[in-house]
Symmetry: C3
Subunit: 131 residues, 3 copies
Amino acid sequence: MQILEIETTSHTEMIDITAEIATAISKNNVKSGVCTIFVPHTTAGVTLNENADPSVRKDFINVFEKLIPKYERYSHAEGNAPAHIKSSIFGSSLNIIIEDGKPVLGTWQGIFFCEFDGPRNRKIYLQITAT
Amino acid sequence: MQILEIETTSHTEMIDITAEIATAISKNNVKSGVCTIFVPHTTAGVTLNENADPSVRKDFINVFEKLIPKYERYSHAEGNAPAHIKSSIFGSSLNIIIEDGKPVLGTWQGIFFCEFDGPRNRKIYLQITAT
Amino acid sequence: MQILEIETTSHTEMIDITAEIATAISKNNVKSGVCTIFVPHTTAGVTLNENADPSVRKDFINVFEKLIPKYERYSHAEGNAPAHIKSSIFGSSLNIIIEDGKPVLGTWQGIFFCEFDGPRNRKIYLQITAT
């Protein structure tokens, strides 16, 4: 298992980690397989989406702020109930296919770490299985 | 493949299955790998989230009840359209990394079986692949 | 890695690809393992849900049209911001367990390709790892 460290700088943000994941994968000698990306946090997530236009990320953040508003009445006392809920909607794990030692992504796809309760120091776990 | 059985007791609930998954994983001799957790139901799901404060689960249930209300006009005649939709939002499969024969989770993370149309007898499938 | 091609015919639709996935899996000689299904697009997704009653799919489309409406103010200029967001909610990858060379699904479960910005020619990537 490999561990990546990431420092987020805002309360809510989507950080492109495609290059870091590709580098970590290339350090293994697995030519063909699957990389499991796992976020060990309950107020963050990981997703695939467009990495060409940064405004896509802004839309994401706004839409989810509307759907799961900060100032509702929640039972959880720490004030970060929306972050927990977003974490489950986006998900904490992803599978990326590896061919020729590289992640196989679509033309417009990037891998994003999703911070919903930052800024914080975060970790990302990677496990690679060969075909 | 291993099969776990679970009996849910409410219409909508999130049940912590972390210990059951850890026990099932320990029965294999896989030291390092990935465990695929798969829910073979269309009105249930599986997710990772905080297992320290039970109020987090209450917030989840309330937020999704508001977003996908029971008493809307749905085409599906069985009355459980919201359960089908929640199942796809939370997702039916998860990947957990295994190291030293144990699931690698974050400090606050638990694995939750999500019942959206209970009470019912449910199954959880597990498949383990070694690195 | 195997590549499936699919032609969607509507702007938003859920297409049952269970048979195509089963055929692709059967072409491998893997008896027991995991199949990673990966959608290399940022305005489409893949999910598991009921394939018996087509009205379930209609409900899905209507609920998400209400939650993430087309005619909101989005930053992304191409007019398909809702499609990007739905893609991340449904997710771009799925894991299916393989036993006896076949996908193991629940009685009512089907695998659906989710088109959110069609009609288009789309691809689905499959990677199979043995246990």
